[in-house]
Symmetry: C2
Amino acid sequence: MLAAARAAFAERGFDGATIRGIATAAGVDPALVHHYFGSKDQLFLAAIEAPADPAELLPELLAGGPDRLGEGVVRTLLTVWDGPGQAAGLALVRSAIGNEWGARLLREFLATQVLRRVIRSLDHPPAEAELRAALAASQLVGLVVGRYVLKIEPLASAAPEWLVAAVGPTVQRYLTGEVALPG
Amino acid sequence: MLAAARAAFAERGFDGATIRGIATAAGVDPALVHHYFGSKDQLFLAAIEAPADPAELLPELLAGGPDRLGEGVVRTLLTVWDGPGQAAGLALVRSAIGNEWGARLLREFLATQVLRRVIRSLDHPPAEAELRAALAASQLVGLVVGRYVLKIEPLASAAPEWLVAAVGPTVQRYLTGEVALPG
């Protein structure tokens, strides 16, 4: 079931894939997929072996209000990566950079499980929301790759709270601040 | 010679490796290494198959003055990556994420060939300069990985000048703006 799910999510994206289609491809009843994995979100997280469930982490972050989103996102990201989620996170990043399927799965994870939920709490028009989410993703991906993969010093050994203070304002500007819009 | 150079740069870093040591490891005369590659900088660029020579690109960028560094760095990066340097850049990034040697070589490239030269044009104390350079690296690495590897939209198809306007201010703040310093 998980192999069929990975294939479907990589080929059609999270929104395009259906539990019914995945069940058919795996030769099982859709009810069985629901029974084992619950929602499509949870099946997706299991299929990509996500380091954490954003649906559990985001409500607290969003409760801080729109002006604390930047530091909240950076703090939550560092908490997951400095904790037991690091191994799964590294595997996800390595697979994303090693092959096109992996890239699509990580992109779908960031877009549908993390950034869509963060950006929906704000009031941007859809096209602007996409731009802002992608800019925030560029900083968050760079923080993860720089700190945990390339291990650039002093990024790699910096205290999380310093990184929250230094990088949080960047993510905040991308999400709610002044950003040039194209054309 | 290039294999010996890669090994030396990965093991000792750019500053620690010497042309003499590399020549000895390759069983050749140091004069031969100088003859083929010129300076240690050029040997390093050849050994890692760098997508561009920062020593050629940076003077023009630095001539714009400290207040235009952020957008200048982003513009130069995008020019290299949107041009013929992309294949070599992707190979460098993939190798950096795939193995520890590759990570060290990319880290040394960013630190000694790019960021050290940019940050030296400013007047920061050494510890602060390192912090600022690492923060700038986190955004630049994320921009490259997001646009060219993960291909996150609309980052992947955005016009370079829009990205310069949107991401440039982040790099500018990291290099010269207000940034929390640790402890």
